[in-house]
């Protein structure tokens, strides 16, 4: 099988890349695009560290052959900061000490952001379900859940920020 060209936008930037057949999106993002904020924790769909947004949906980039994202809009953790301003989720992760070693953090934020993008004021149960595919071995999850709920509360007070995010 031959390599083929695949085009997508990554954090708003157009990309056209020559991709070997079967190459995983996580490797293409990290090694061909330099977007190393997306982590490979297991390579088998069980930890969520590689979570990115494909056309607004949170997906595991370790399970996606990169050929399949042709024509998609991809957002990674690098695209969550806008104009050097942290997203409310990122601020909340800092304020709630929801990151320790940090290896799960990008995936957590991407999974949480996908939730808040469609449900800006989720219940605690909805947060837990949205993060259920993301493993964190450091924090014990409570600070992360608290951070997502705190971010939602901030968004509720600042509808303009929600629209901008």
């Amino acid at each position: 099988m031959k390599s083929s060209y695949v085009s997508f936008t990554l954090n708003g930037e157009e990309k056209e890349l020559l991709i070997e057949p079967g190459r995983r999106l996580v490797d293409v993002l990290r090694e061909q695009c330099g977007a190393t904020g997306t982590k490979n924790g297991c390579g088998q769909g069980s930890c969520g560290a590689c979570t990115v947004h494909i056309d607004g949906v949170a997906m595991l980039s370790c399970l996606l052959p990169a050929e399949l994202v042709d024509g998609s809009e991809i957002v990674t953790i690098e695209g969550v900061v806008r104009n050097r301003v942290l997203h409310v989720l990122q601020e909340a992760f800092l304020a709630q000490a929801a990151t320790q070693c940090g290896f799960c953090t990008a995936g957590m934020i991407m999974a949480a952001k996908a939730l808040l993008d469609c449900d800006p004021s989720p219940s605690r149960q909805a947060v837990i379900e949205a993060l259920s595919g993301n493993v964190c071995r450091c924090t014990g999850y409570e600070p992360i859940i608290a951070a997502v709920l705190a971010a939602a509360a901030t968004l509720a007070k600042r509808p303009a920020a929600a629209a901008a995010a």
Partner: protein, 454 residues
């Protein structure tokens, strides 16, 4: 924010805490939430080779023959490393603190002692090619009986799996580590109650979200830069240099950013192979555990078997404690001989017991080598001790807080290993815990202090 007891430990306090009692941000938190933190694998190198191990399929076997021809034929394979390529193949990680002998091979020679033990390392252009070739290494084994249980391992007549002829680490000529003070047997005869219980734990895997790994990069002048997620950069540098026969100055370790360690990234397993690969090919080499390898072959917390026998006076004083500890080191020492010393020295726990006997064995079995993990050597012992304390309290109809306070060690007491206790805090911690949960304590217990006995 937790309240800090201002009235205790005034000497340590000296009025100048900078961080204790304050919530300070981690210095790396901002880069964590933006994805900017660079872990070792975030360093991308062109022309990188990937190392993947062919591993033992048996718990215990002789290696009769290794056929590399099919592996060599896989497209993209650049080189295959065997034990013959490793300058000093036999090592032991704690030789840096004077524990010996060298007893673990970097790559297996004529035998394997645990399932998953590395035999040869494939270096290939892609990870997929390296995995394919590793699966094509043909090893002919002669299976040997496996010793998988610590109690069996130390029975007379059980075959010795280690070349030194037994299944235990030898401490200065003794087959186990021993601590005693007082006369435990006499005290058992005087005791009003005897409590004897056994406890056991399983191996526990750290399961960091970032698996263990390293990238070795050749530099001009015969030097190598090692990007690693080790928790012990200098330990790694020294052990890797000794294994490779390199002067220490030729290795530079770049690390300190660890995606979860918990003690699991203290052994020196991936780095020597990565550097050796870089030395022999002149290319950068990455050796990273798959999730499956992290679960199977990264060293877990040792399983332990602990038997505690206590002699207790009618008033609740523990007057004798005899502890037998078996630590399952798995097939090789790693940090377990040291963990076993810690386990022995930790007994009889934070309690002052006048008559103590401790016997601790560091036992080899045909299991994955165990090693460091958060308080290793101590944590499982604490589990056993505190369950034992609760059992004693229950049997004697005593309040478990007060039984602990009655037996708690205080400053100036002598530990079983004859060190004088300093800076004890158990009394104050129990008092504070009782207060937090609204558990009533007697006036005498509330008045107790670690600093003085009244």
């Amino acid at each position: 924010m937790a309240r800090i007891l201002e009235d205790v430990f005034t000497a340590e306090r000296a009025g100048s805490f900078q961080a204790i009692g304050r919530a300070l941000p981690r210095i790396d938190a901002h880069s964590h939430v933006t994805g900017a933190t660079r872990y070792y694998a975030d360093r991308i190198f062109p022309n990188l080779l990937h190392a993947v191990m062919a591993r033992s399929e048996h718990h215990h076997a002789l290696i009769r023959h290794v056929d590399l021809s099919a592996a060599q034929a896989v497209k993209g394979v650049a080189r295959i490393l065997t034990h013959k390529d490793v300058p000093n193949n036999w090592y032991t990680i704690l030789k840096l603190i004077g524990l010996g002998p060298d007893e673990e091979p970097v790559l297996a020679e004529d035998r394997v002692l645990y399932r998953g033990e590395p035999i040869v390392a494939i270096l290939a252009d892609t990870e997929a090619a390296a995995r394919e070739a590793a699966a094509k290494v043909k090893v002919e084994y002669e299976e040997l009986p496996a010793v998988l249980d610590v109690e069996t391992a130390i029975l007379p007549g059980t075959p010795a799996i280690k070349p030194h002829g037994s299944n235990v680490f030898v401490y200065e000529g003794r087959d186990h580590f021993h601590v005693h003070c007082g006369d435990t047997e006499a005290a058992f005869r005087e005791a009003d109650h005897i409590f004897e219980h056994s406890y056991q734990s399983s191996p526990i895997e750290h399961a960091p979200v970032e698996t263990t790994g390293a990238i070795a990069v050749p530099e001009p002048g015969g030097r190598y830069t090692l990007h690693s997620n080790t928790q012990a950069a200098f330990f790694t540098l020294d052990n890797a240099a000794l294994i490779l026969g390199l002067p220490f100055r030729q290795l530079r370790v770049v690390g300190g950013t660890v995606g979860g360690g918990f003690g699991g990234k203290v052994d020196v397993i991936v780095e020597p192979i990565a550097v050796l690969g870089a030395m022999l090919t002149g290319r950068p080499v990455k050796y990273s555990f798959s999730r499956g390898e992290e679960m199977q072959v990264s060293s877990p917390r040792a399983a332990e078997r602990i038997r505690i026998k206590d002699g207790v006076a009618a008033d609740g004083r523990i007057i004798a404690r005899d502890v037998r500890i078996l630590v399952d080191a798995g097939a090789y020492s790693r940090h377990s001989p040291y963990g076993t010393i810690k386990a022995a020295a930790h007994m009889p726990g934070p309690y002052t017991v006048p008559n103590v006997t401790i016997n601790a064995w560091c036992v080899y079995t045909n299991r994955t080598p165990s090693s460091a993990m958060r308080g290793f050597g101590v944590t499982i012992g604490d589990f056993a001790l505190e369950v034992q304390m609760d059992r004693i309290a229950r049997e004697l109809g005593r309040d478990p807080f007060e039984l602990r306070l009655q037996n708690a060690y205080r400053d100036g007491d002598l530990k079983a290993h004859r060190k004088t206790v300093e800076g004890a805090a158990l009394v104050e911690v129990i008092q504070a815990a009782a207060e937090r949960i609204g558990h009533p304590l007697s006036p005498e217990c509330r008045a107790m202090s670690s600093c003085q006995r009244t």
